[in-house]
Amino acid sequence: MDNFWDIKAKEIMQSFSEDKNYEKWKEAVLNPWNKKTGYKDKTRENSSSMPVKELYTAGDLPRDAAERIGYPGEYPFTRGIYPNMYRGRNWTMRMFSGFGTPDDTNKRLKYLIENGETGLSIAFDMPTLYGYDCDSKRAEGEVGKCGVNVSSLHDMERIFDGIDLSKVSTSMTINAPAAILTAMYFVLAEKKGIPLEKISGTVQADILKEYIAQKEWMYPPEAHLRLIRDMLVYSTEHVPKWNYISVSGYHIREAGSSAVQELAFTLADGFYYIEMGINAGLDVDDFAPRTSFFFNSSINFFEEIAKFRAARRIWATVLKEKYNAKNPKSMALKFHTQTSGYTLTWQQPLNNIVRTTIEAMAAVLGGTQSLHTNSYDEAWALPTDDAVKVALRTQQILAEETGITDVIDPLGGSYYLERLTCEMEIEAYKYFSEIEKMGGILNAVKSGYLQKEIADTSYKKQLKIEREEDIIVGVNKYVDRDEKPINTLKITDVAEKGQISSLENVKKNRDESKVSRSLEELHKAMEDDRVNLMPYIMECVRNYCTLEEISNVGREIFGEWKEPKIY
């Protein structure tokens, strides 16, 4: 029996027709030409193993193309979520940054603001991402290495020193301890005297993709999902401009998935969060508009653009037809994009500027709301100021020199792109159906099914590179014999030492009785699944309980989690 997804896939398939003229042209013109020139055609495919033809024609459009494509700012949002797109306002240039101590990061943020950045985006270091303090044994050697270290509210205060929280929107890439960092941001606003209704921003908080791809978690899935539910409900009631989640495909792609897998697994996660909100008793239109997405933009230009457009159309269709959303804002999928880190090469690093430019252009032509461009030196280390500036300038050139922002969805109507968009939709619907048959996304994640799909795709890709079926310039073709090292950002152990002594100070100056009382209260609240934990976590944060102290309450109650075996 067909489920909802099977029916949607079939609808699209049945809208295709044949192009007899194309077949005639092939026979009369193309084949003789190939024969004459001695060209032997072979199947070519994109990253999602979908074969691509040599030519697309009017016959490749679905019969109801006009309706499926639609108009910008209107259901099904294929052409973009705003009526005037970039004519009205450019995308937000949001450079992901964070390293060393909170003071180092504060300096970098101010540098970016001075250079025209329009939204802040904070990267945290590994200990923070896993809920360990800088003085933990597990944090040794990792403090400030891959992002900024935050061990208590005090560090958050330093990161945003001199930055007006009511004027910026802040994105925080944090997942397992998302509720704690969110609480810190809320309390920080409170201390600065800014009402919670005035602050805006996004917290990533997408734990499903952690189990699928990025592998940063503290507890079993159910425990983290409960915390996300609490953030969702709390922000719906108190922080109306706060995006409680950024459903992320970026990491799924970086972990080795194809474009279609990124599309399907991310949206499947998104549907789960929508169902979670509905199950928590909220009306879908009360929270769905604050669901945002985060995609990867990789190097296969048209495939990426089709992916973004397919994502919008699927989301709109499903929210409307399956979850009965009434508000168009619930149906409009807004997303942030980051260019692919995986495509950056360690060899001939300047080539990375070109790759990033192409990927950024795909994101813009795909209608992104905000964009991070990677720096050319990031296969080596965290980026230097100079490299970051080139990356930001890349966006500014795209926005202000090229003219691609003058026309809304300029590639809309391209035979190839529209056909590819439809085909990606079909493939995604097939995955949704598969996932449903496995008992839903949570079961699919816990059993390791999605992880295995990704690992298989990634290994196949690697073998293609090894066999030189897939070319990477500078790596398996046009190789330079002597690679010269470039200047990279060095993060010394000074950051670690500084953070440890700063945390020591925080602990010396706080009221220990308040600390233990608020932790005990959190412990009690956690044991009752019906209680919203946000106020309790905020109270802990206010009293300068550390990240690890708060995380440990959950570790005691929920226990830990080990990944399933996937081969």
């Binding site: 590994m126 200990p127 991402l129 896993y130 360990y132 597990r138 944090a139 040794e140 050697g141 990792e142 290495k145 891959c146 952690e210 990025q214 592998k215 940063e216 970086e254 972990a255 080795g256 995986y342 090469t345 360690w346 060899q347 296969a379 080596w380 280390a381 690992a455 990634s458 290994y459 690697q462 090894e466 990477i472 790596v475 398996n476 090292p485 990279t488 993060i491 080990k562 990944e563 996937i566 081969y567």
Partner: protein, 155 residues
């Protein structure tokens, strides 16, 4: 029954020629496991027995596993910049336990200037991004052969 079961007879097998056993580990808090899965599959397809002990092992757990499983090679990988601390911890624990007959090979995002120090600790390879799988596999095989020869004279 015989054909399937004894298609390769172990009766006259030689220790130095039997499949290599490798432990793949990321001895710190680093969840980037794309590369480690690619390596696990590539090593398997090169005929090796590959132990993968999962994410976030402590250096102690890495050494415990290596000893209990009696691996020939420990292949360490980190992409988070913590290799100098974490790799050194593994080497020190191996030394403390008196283990000298396990080879240690490194990889990840390792700047050139760190390589001499790692070599000095006894960690070889130290492969960066984009290294062909064959190069890594050959290196592991060479180190494992050395280890097996050395072990034949032990005990």
């Amino acid at each position: 029954m015989l054909g399937g079961r004894y298609s390769v007879s172990g009766r006259s097998q030689k220790y130095t020629e039997a499949p290599i056993k490798v432990l793949l580990a990321k001895p710190a808090i680093d969840g980037h496991d794309r590369g480690i899965f690619v390596l696990a599959k590539a090593f398997r397809d090169a005929g090796m027995d590959v132990i993968y002990a999962g994410l976030l092992p402590t250096p102690e757990e890495v050494v415990d596993t290596a000893i209990n499983e009696d691996v020939d090679v420990i292949a360490l990988s980190l992409l988070n910049g913590a290799h100098m601390t974490a790799f050194r911890n593994v080497m020190e624990i191996l030394k403390k336990r008196g283990v000298q007959d396990i080879a240690v090979v490194g990889g990840g995002i390792i700047p050139d200037e760190d390589k001499p120090a790692l070599e000095k600790m006894g960690i070889t390879g130290n492969f960066g991004p984009g290294t062909p799988l064959n190069v890594i596999i050959d290196h592991i095989k060479t180190r494992a052969r050395e280890i097996r020869k050395m072990r034949e004279n032990e005990y």
